[in-house]
Symmetry: C2
Subunit: 187 residues, 2 copies
Amino acid sequence: MDRRQQKTRAAIFAAFSTLLAEKNYNKITVQEIIDTANIGRTTFYAHFETKDDLLKALCEDLFGHIVSSAIDCTHTHGLYSEQSAPESVFCHLLQHLQENDKNIIGLLSSESSEIFLRYFKDSLNGLVRSQFVNQNRKNNTDLPQDFLINHISGSFVEMVLWWIKGRMKQKPEELDGYFRAVMEPIL
Amino acid sequence: MDRRQQKTRAAIFAAFSTLLAEKNYNKITVQEIIDTANIGRTTFYAHFETKDDLLKALCEDLFGHIVSSAIDCTHTHGLYSEQSAPESVFCHLLQHLQENDKNIIGLLSSESSEIFLRYFKDSLNGLVRSQFVNQNRKNNTDLPQDFLINHISGSFVEMVLWWIKGRMKQKPEELDGYFRAVMEPIL
DNA sequence: TTTGTTATCGAACACTTTGTTCTCTTTTAT
DNA sequence: ATAAAAGAGAACAAAGTGTTCGATAACAAA
């Protein structure tokens, strides 16, 4: 890929992230992104058709990365294989988040956090589902598997949001402990 | 309040809901709302300053209603007072939703469901919190109260979304059972 | 029924944003 | 060095925003 394209794409992503930290997604105009990224109008539209298109690309970049990193983790350990395993996927995800790679934290604490939260949950849902299938785990409850998967990814994502909004005072391991506690009957 | 105002307000809400069922919130223009509601341009702006303002008013109307109805319920029963009480607040909420009062279901299954989901969760959070304070319940876990409150309302709301997206195949009582099962360690 | 008040209407307004097209310049890979 | 590709910048029509104005109709209260 052309170096110029890479730079432009990065500049647009950066400008978009900056603006998202300042104001709501709906209020951000393409013109502002162009100005902040310091690029030509035509250039923006050569990369993305619309603002929504840009959002989608950013999310894929963000969560594709974080989830694929988590999948590597599941190859060695399951979702929560060992009772005392500190290397659980969830803990790994939390640590990854804390490092604030690609400024996911900034986006998840922005006014438009719901958007990213949904994307995050969808990605996570796929991850949890694949683990459920692989494990072929015996369901010790009579709850539908689909419900459980949704409950796990939903609760995790809501917890992450709570964590971030509360300025991330807990350590990832601590938060992982909370999650284990409330998920105890099903994990 | 003037009869004309009531009619106009209702017409705007109806038009807005209709449009939300068709397309994303971001894509809806004030002009479309005006046309669908079949009112004059000036009239719209006499009622609401912006589209966001309209959204806020609609949400307050929706969730103010549903939550206050749930609060009545908590006066007689706690959140989950009796082991076998079918009149739990959560069950009550689910039944209320199923009746589809004010078309909340339509909005929660729309493309812009995240927006309404957040509003719903915030309302619910207040409800759960007040119950926690009133009960002055002994915490059988060592988890922060704030975390628990967030976990309960978050999980509930995520469950509702799952329910609706899955075409609400379960009965409210059934779903309430699921919720009890996964909330077992803390409720 | 009459009267003063008020919501609604519709046209017009300046302004911003959008997405596209054009030509010209610069950068890149080979 | 050269051809291909990417970016800059100006200009454009189209659509949406939020406001102002005067005229009309519906309203509540006397």
